[in-house]
Structure formats: C-alpha cells, structure tokens
C-alpha cells in the first residue's frame, strides 16, 4: 500500500472511530433544517420556495463545523511534523486528507439531503436536484476549507478565525449551488448553466485549495 493510500485509510478510520466527528456534521445539518420551520412558521409554500437555499446554508455550516480538525488535529499531536519529513509531496498529502475528509463528512450530508428535504416540503424531483448540486458543490467547500485550515494552523489557535476566513470565500459556491437547484425546480434558467459553473468552481478550488494549503503549511515552518 503506498503512503497516500495509507494516509487516506487512516483518516477514514479516524473519522469512523469514537470522537472522529463523522456523524456530527449530519446532526448539525438536521438541527438547522428542523429549526427553520419553527422560525418561519407552517407556511408550506414559503418553505418549499426557500427550501433549496436553507438546505444549502445548512450543508455549508455543517461542513464548516468539522473543518477545524482537518489539519489542526495532526498539527497538535506532532503528526504534521512527520508528514512533512515524508517523501510524499505535501500537495498530494493535503489533497488526500481533504478527500478523506469530504468522504467522511461531506458525502453523508449529500446522502441525508433527500430525507431532510421532506422537512422543507420539497417534492422528490426538487430534493434530488438539491442533492445533486450538493454532490457537485460540497467538495468545493472542503477544498476551500482546506486552505483556511492550513492558514489557521500556522497561526496557532486559529480555530475560530477559520470560520471567518472561509465563509466569504464560499459565497460563489453558495450562489451557483442555490441557483442551480432553483433552476431545476422552478426555472426559467436551464439547469445546466449554473450547474456547470458550480462544477467549474469545484475543480478550481481543488487546484487552488491544494496548492495554497501546502504553500501555507510550508511557509508556517518558521
């Protein structure tokens, strides 16, 4: 098994064990979705109209919740030092960590979306559309978060800063994610237009997030 596969498997294992936090994101997502109808009131038409936006906001906040452990956990116990002395390029190592993180925290949000969409009075076609846009968009949130996680690690105790740093950068993903969902549900825009831009954003964040995070960590070596 090569080093990257080992790192990938370890991170997945850690997420699954006690204290790994894989389920916390989904629970938080559920709470946000459950609270919304209480705040807005039992107006079914209104809930269906704002449903995709609330689902996206919930997923965005839920994916932020677990981000601070992405690199900080390894930095605190000294694992990051050893990862830096490994022969694997740091870019590949952080990309692998982010991928494992998305699989263990981002994908469960996507899978839970059709279920949670019921609470927002979305029909099956609409909820599938939202799930599809989340599938395309949540990796972007993880890789943008990767950059924030790397930056906040080098600042020490930057956990709270991470949220403030990352949220503004996720605005484009949120805009195109929600507009693609709405395009699929009410139109008049064709679904493909915002959806392809969303996919493009994910690909860009994959490249930029990975290289910038590795650069931030290297720069963090005082």
């Amino acid at each position: 098994m090569n080093p990257l596969a080992a790192l990938f498997m370890r991170d997945l294992k850690l997420a699954g064990r006690v204290g790994g936090g894989a389920g916390i994101g989904v629970l938080f997502f559920l709470i946000v979705i459950v609270l919304t109808p209480f705040a807005i009131g039992p107006d079914l038409a209104l809930l269906a109209r704002i449903g995709p936006a609330i689902l996206w906001l919930g997923a965005l906040l839920a994916s932020l919740l677990t981000l601070d452990r992405l690199i900080a956990a390894d930095a605190e116990d000294g694992s990051l030092d050893l990862i830096l002395t490994g022969q694997t390029p740091l870019e590949l190592a952080v990309a692998t960590k982010a991928l494992a993180h998305w699989l263990s925290t981002g994908l469960p949000l996507v899978i839970a979306t059709p279920l949670f969409a019921l609470l927002m009075n979305l029909d099956s076609q609409a909820s599938l559309a939202v799930a599809l846009t989340l599938l395309a968009g949540t990796p972007a949130l993880t890789f943008i978060g990767l950059l924030g996680a790397a930056l906040s690690v080098t600042l020490r105790r930057g956990g709270l800063l991470l949220t403030v740093l990352v949220l503004p950068l996720t605005v484009p993903v949120l805009i195109f994610g929600v507009s693609a969902s709405n395009a699929a549900i009410v139109g008049p825009l064709p679904f493909g237009t915002p959806f392809t831009i969303l996919c493009a954003l994910t690909l860009v964040s994959f490249v930029v997030g990975t290289f910038a995070a590795a650069a931030a960590l290297r720069h963090g070596i005082e």
Binding site: M1, P3, A5, A6, L7, R10, L14, R17, D81, I221
Partner: protein, 200 residues
Amino acid sequence: MRLEASDLACVRGGREVFAGLRFAVAGGEALMVTGRNGAGKSSLLRMIAGLVRVAAGRLALTGGADDLPLAEQAHYLGHQDALKPSLTVEENLDFWARYLGTGDGAPAALAAVGLDTVAKLPAGYLSAGQRRRLSIARLVAIKRPIWLLDEPASALDRAAQDRLAELMRGHLAGGGLIVAAAHGPIGLEGARELQLGATG
C-alpha cells in the same frame, strides 16, 4: 556519510536562539546536544529535520542518498508522539511504517520495544512511557540513516532506557548517525557533546 553545520543560526519569533554554530557528525558517531532550557536544543533538531528554517549558515549532508533532501533521510523523535488515541498500537505504527517507508518492519519493531503484547489496545490507553516506546518503534520499523532524538529517554523506565541505548548502539554500529538532545546520560558513552548557549 557526514552531517556538517557551519555558522548555523536560528531565529524564532524574531529572537535569535543561537548563531555561529558549527559541528560535524560522521556516520557511526553520535552528538549529544546539551544546554539550559531555551538554549535551542529542540530548535536545532527541528532545523535538521527541516521543520525550522535555517536563518543563516549552512547545513549539509554528504555521502547520503544524493537524490533525497536531508529531512527525508532523518527520523525526528520530538516531544509529541504523533499517535492517534483512537487507533490501536498496531494501527498507529503500521500507518507511519507505510507512510514513511514500505511498511514491512512494523511487527518486528513492536516486539523490539516490548509492545507486542498490547498491539491491539487503542493507543489512548497507553502510559507516557509506553507512548514513548511506540514512537521509538517507528525508528526501528523504518530504516533512515539519521536519528534526531529530543529527550528520547523521558518517561522511560530503567529497562526501556537500556533497550533504547541498545537500539542506538545498534544504529551507530550499522553506520547511522545520531543527534540527541538530553539533560542526563542516555546511554551514549563516548558521544561528543555540543553545548548550546554556554557563552550566551
């Protein structure tokens, strides 16, 4: 193989920790770094491991594997154990053996530090000394010519200290080199001493 430093300086947080440091260690030799707290022992080891930037001077390895940077030929044993409490002893060592090397030597290394009986136990249940031994197992599991040891004997009982000394002697006999920071003797008799911060 020879590790040589000339006019080495270290700056951390805007403060100069040491400057004008020079030393040379050859394969089969050990260098003991001593000095008061804050003299820069750990910083020196982290610098050799590539974890602290060289502020001035030169740090060079000659005669090692030419295509690898210094940091990738060195084992760094720091204050932190790099262990995940929720993974078992075996899984922790196995991961590092695979990430840093080929992963073959893990079971034998676990036996070498006497942790094979607790292999299936989550690392979170280990005592401080056992965690230390698990970190030391990493040095045995993956072959790298340079060992950078920061207080390697801390928390170890007498028997484990003897075992560590034996492992270090074995490493030196195999042509490896050791740079260790310690306050007391760690079983490296005849090692040269580098005192940091002596003249201020």
